[in-house]
């Protein structure tokens, strides 16, 4: 396929206002989507192949459609630069190649390879001063960041399982899908890999493919349906939508109007629809002739997120301060906690004990843990019995300093203004940098 037109910015901007294409009388939009004969919706859970029969990113402007990266054996996961002139995508030059990250002009031209990892790299996103994507490692897909011009990569995530970026928020944080119990949940991390946490702590059913829309809401897929987080609420909110199944993410056309990969009934291919409230109209130009049409993204300029100034400093590990372990969604009886035990996941994937730190009467404790390792906390009573324990794993960057309101407190809890007793005991953390010998 080789369209004989210049796919320049002026061209698609003109098409945007000329009203060609689109469903019924809707104004035309330019967008990219992934066309795939087969789509394994749950592959992200296992780090498997989402497009086992191949995929091709398609660029649509008005009634015209062409491949984003002609000559590639496979392409997917396209996103558009802030100026609307370039796109990142995951591609395979040959079918036997791993997925790699590439950049190409919307007008076309020679693609530029961004990633340099020998294994699969997928789901790229532009940062204000770099690019983030996920690459397969022995511990699952992990997030990596690289400068726009290339160079060394920085690993941002260190937990077991698969971590796949889904958007970059306007406040600068990276939104990503990560493992949670048997499914996935939505996490955020700063572009330097610090501050990882779940976006909300109500933990619904297999949430993933989240995108921020212009209202600031986070719209995501959960079990084939769309749902949202709003800034005001700590729990997931419903989205008015027609019956059927959605394959996230959404692309916002205008406030309240989204381009969505959707099928009215199970078993049918996913197609692109313009969804507004409870209505969905098919997007004709993206007719994939029986294949699935997935991963829509609009081709237009959009604001760059805020740049994040990293505060990481040279330290042996990560300083982690808990203000009050009793502030928790778990029921932790007042005065019941005596110590905090810290576990690490070793290179073989076996949990090992790093050691224990005293928990003060106000619930505060302060430790230095190894950076860039999967760790978790367990709260113990005076007899050494478990009072509460984290189920999942988290991590911190080496040199990071981080404070938590409590243990599984939820992002809705802001800290009580009180000086933590643990800092009155000592401003130096209890160093738990190496395994103490125990294992689970």
């Amino acid at each position: 396929m080789g369209p004989a037109f210049r796919f320049g910015s002026a061209w698609w901007v003109a098409a945007l206002f000329c009203g060609v294409g689109g469903g019924q009388n809707a104004p035309a939009i330019s967008y990219i989507y992934t066309q795939a004969a087969r789509y394994e919706a749950d592959a992200g859970l296992q780090g498997g192949e989402r497009f086992p029969a191949g995929a091709a990113a398609q660029l649509v402007s008005g009634a015209v459609r062409r491949e984003l990266a002609p000559g590639f054996a496979a392409s997917a996961d396209a996103v558009v630069s802030f100026d609307g002139l370039r796109a990142l995508f995951a591609g395979k030059q040959r079918a036997s190649d791993p997925w790699e990250i590439w950049e190409i002009g919307i007008e076309g031209g020679k693609p530029r390879k961004v990633s340099s990892d020998p294994d699969d790299c997928i789901a790229p996103f532009y940062l204000p001063d770099g690019i983030v994507y996920a690459c397969r490692t022995s511990a699952g897909f992990q997030l990596f960041r690289v400068a726009r011009a290339g160079g060394d990569t920085v690993q941002l995530t260190y937990g077991p399982g698969h971590h796949i970026p889904s958007d970059v928020l306007r406040d600068g944080r990276i939104l990503f899908d990560g493992p949670h119990q048997a499914g996935r949940d939505i996490y955020t991390i700063y572009p330097d890999g610090t501050g990882v946490e779940t976006y909300r702590c109500d933990h619904g059913r297999d949430r993933h493919a989240a995108r921020e829309v212009s209202s600031g809401d986070i719209v995501f897929e959960t079990g084939g349906r769309l749902a949202r987080f709003t800034s005001a609420r700590a729990a997931q909110m419903d989205v008015t939508q027609p019956a059927g199944e959605v394959a996230g993410p959404v692309a916002e056309i205008a406030p309240g109007e989204w381009l969505v990969s959707y099928r009215p009934s199970p078993g049918a291919p996913y197609r692109l629809y313009r969804m507004r409230g409870g209505q969905a109209l098919p997007e004709k130009a993206a007719d994939a002739s029986g294949a699935n049409a997935l991963q829509p993204v609009l081709v237009r300029p959009h604001p760059a997120p805020k740049r994040f100034p990293s505060a990481i400093r040279e330290r042996a590990g990560a300083n982690l301060l808990c203000l009050n372990a009793y502030v928790s969604k778990l029921k932790i009886a007042a005065g019941s906690v005596h110590t905090a035990r810290v576990w690490e996941l070793d290179d073989q994937g076996t949990p090992v004990v790093l050691g224990q730190a005293p928990v003060e009467s106000d619930g505060s404790f302060f430790i230095m843990a190894p950076g860039e390792r999967a760790i978790r906390f367990e709260l113990l009573d005076r007899a050494g019995k478990t009072v509460a324990a984290e189920k999942g794993w988290f991590w911190a960057r080496r040199g990071e300093q981080r404070v938590c309101v409590g243990c599984h407190a939820g992002p809705e809890h802001s800290p009580e203004n009180a000086q933590p007793l643990t800092l009155l005991r000592s401003t130096d953390p209890v160093e738990l940098l190496k395994p103490a010998g125990g294992s689970q």
Binding site: D171, S231, Q401, N417
Partner: protein, 636 residues
């Protein structure tokens, strides 16, 4: 006597130059003389800076206090034309009408007076007395007495309106600032900007001071736990609900990040029969912040309350019926926890209305259909259609068309948009471009280390280096990378904006010194204090080493030699005992003292933290001599 303070009409360089000359010519240097020698300098543009509003009872006339141009502007709302610009005193901060609307009262914060204006002629008819830095003045229901909140004095003056004489001064709280009269006239409610004195690194405590208007005594003090920075207070028309706008600073926890309301809780204290005990409610959300809450207007039918949030350029609309229902459904423990629950506001915040730049004072039409919003750095008044919840019109105050770098910098200073998720701006800690009287635990030094007191932000040009350890050589460093990385935690100013902000900071003048006579003469106690300050020998005749003589370190126009010294006030949690010598100008206003705020008073610097005479020689001084020294220091 009208005190002419430095600044708004004068270039900062000129202030510094003149001040230096005065200092050189006579050791008893008086900033006042510097002001006099500056009178010939060219004026810089003055922006109206509307800060407070009042409506006539019929809703036909709007009075706008313009802090920047020292005037009260009267608008005819039927024609939206300015009726008159009425010159008042320096830095006016409030406006209130008598019940019969015949008299208007404007508190002139830098003149220490209240202008009484005839509403018919729009002429100033009297200048009434007040305490130090009157910030709010309201008449009682009968028009017999005027209550004036004095910010520097921390007290409330009671002025007999018949005689024009101040008859009482009631002890309120530090930074006493805003007043409201109960609808039945029986109570006057007062708030204050700075926390009450407390233990070092203890949660800040504030209060709502309740005055019995019949007896003119403080009847009650409603405790506001963990609150510092209380702005306006308002009462519902039935008198059953009181609301005070406030900040809940998180100065005791390490500022390792900003998300989750880590630095401030923007909130409202509710009080009165509707709620029983004081309940603090947040107005923030999980990912968006509305800061700092400044003024509150309650709808006549108590259906809604409007809160201006000056750093967020918006007005928050609270559904009062939903709010009261929500609060009443909570147990006492849940009510206490509510202040830190960022998801609570979803239960009562009905809308956020974008308005102009730095919205401050509010006035609600008698029928509740229109809300007027003073946009301080926008130099306009927004007219909000309260049913549609959007701005339906704008009143212009005739600001200069071009913005000076200082004015652009001032807008940046008051904006919270640079903080992560709009959480806070410069003005959250430097309240109204001053200080907050709090000490903070900043993250870069480690947790619990290098606790820092917030310094007074006036006439700082020439006091470099900055930060208590002198780590920042200039304001560009202080406000640029440092602020972005360790405060805002988000992309902040570009180079042009940073230059503007620094220009503004350097233009913040010193407030008039209330402890120094207008003619520069010292009282006998101040003279005795000066002699102690300048002494070279102990009382027993022993020479004091030069390095330990007060004027050696506290020298120059700002009373700092800008060096790092060890005066023995370092704490085990400080990384270094060396501290940058602080300026002493207007030192009386910036308690607590020392680099970490551990000294509650000037006296404690010597009686508690100077046991070995390492911070000047003071242990041979008696209490009355220390008092004299303090009296002198207050004049600097």
């Amino acid at each position: 006597m009208e005190i002419r303070p430095p600044g708004v009409d004068m270039s900062v360089d000129a202030v510094r130059t003149c001040a230096c000359r005065v200092r050189t010519a006579a050791h008893t240097f008086s900033i006042l003389l510097a002001f006099t020698c500056l009178s010939a300098t060219l004026p810089t543009p003055r922006y109206p800076s509307p800060i407070e509003l009042a409506l006539s009872p019929d809703g036909a006339r709007l009075y706008v206090v313009c802090q920047g141009t020292d005037e009260l502007v009267a608008f005819d709302l039927r024609t939206r034309a300015i009726l008159r610009r009425i010159p008042v005193g320096r830095e006016p901060k409030s406006v209130a009408l008598s019940r019969d609307a015949r008299r208007i009262y404007v508190a002139n914060s830098w003149s220490d007076t209240v202008s009484e204006i005839d509403a018919a002629s729009l002429e100033v008819v009297r200048k009434l007395p007040a305490g130090m830095e009157p910030t709010s003045a309201i008449p009682d229901r009968e028009g017999r007495y005027l209550y004036v909140a004095n910010r520097i004095g921390g007290d409330i003056s009671v002025v007999d309106l018949a005689s024009g004489v101040e008859t009482k001064r009631l002890d309120a709280a530090p930074g006493a600032s805003y007043l409201a009269l109960s609808p039945d006239g029986s109570r006057v409610y007062g708030t204050h900007l700075y926390p009450n004195p407390g233990q070092f690194r203890a949660p800040p405590e504030s209060e709502i001071t309740v005055i019995d208007a019949a007896r003119q005594v403080v009847a009650e003090r409603y405790r506001l736990h963990n609150v510092a920075g209380v702005f306006h207070v308002a009462l519902s028309a039935d008198g059953r609900l009181g609301m005070a706008a406030q900040l809940r600073p998180k100065n005791l926890v390490p500022l390792a990040h900003v998300e989750h309301g880590w630095v401030f809780g923007n909130s409202i204290s509710l009080f009165g029969e509707d709620v029983g005990e004081v309940v603090q409610i947040p107005i923030d959300e999980l990912d968006r912040y509305f800061t700092p809450p400044f003024d509150i207007a309650i709808a006549p039918d108590k259906s809604a309350a409007y809160v201006s949030t000056s750093g967020s350029d918006s007005v928050t609309v609270i559904d009062l019926r939903r709010l009261l229902e929500f609060v009443r459904s909570k147990s006492p423990e849940e009510k206490r926890a509510m202040a830190n629950d960022l998801s609570a506001s979803a239960n009562y915040v009905a809308a956020r209305i974008p308005v102009g730049s730095a919205p401050k004072g509010l006035a609600l039409a008698p029928d509740g259909k229109r809300l007027y919003v003073a946009n301080r750095t926008g130099d306009t008044v927004s007219i909000v259609d309260t049913a549609a919840r959007r701005v339906s019109g704008t009143l212009s105050l005739g600001a200069p068309a071009a913005l000076t770098p200082e004015r652009r910098g001032e807008r940046l200073f008051y904006s919270a948009r640079f903080g992560f998720q709009g959480h806070f701006g410069c003005a959250n800690c430097h309240l109204e471009a001053t200080q907050d009287n709090l000490s903070w635990d900043l993250e870069p030094d480690g947790f619990g280390k290098d606790i820092v007191d917030n310094r007074l932000l006036e006439w700082v040009d020439g006091t470099e280096p900055f930060k208590w350890n002198g780590g920042n050589p200039n304001l560009e460093t202080e406000c640029g990378p440092r602020t972005e990385t360790f405060f805002y935690r988000s992309q902040s100013y570009d180079q042009e904006q940073l230059a503007d902000l620094v220009r503004f900071l350097k233009s913040i003048p010193l407030r008039p010194n209330r402890f120094r006579a207008a003619n520069g003469e010292l009282t006998p106690a101040q003279e005795r204090g000066q002699a102690i300050f300048e002494r070279t020998r102990k009382k027993d005749g022993t020479p004091i080493p030069q390095f330990n003589q007060c004027p050696v370190c506290h020298s120059g126009p700002h009373y700092t030699n800008k060096e790092l010294v060890d005066v023995g006030s370092g704490k085990p949690t400080d990384r270094s005992p060396l501290v940058d010598v602080p300026q002493l100008t207007n030192i009386a206003l910036s308690a607590p003292y020392l680099h970490d705020g551990s000294a509650h008073t000037l006296e404690e610097i010597w009686t508690v933290f100077n046991p070995r005479d390492t911070h000047g020689v003071t242990n041979d001084l008696q209490k009355d001599e220390l008092n004299d020294l303090i009296e002198y220091l207050k004049t600097l």
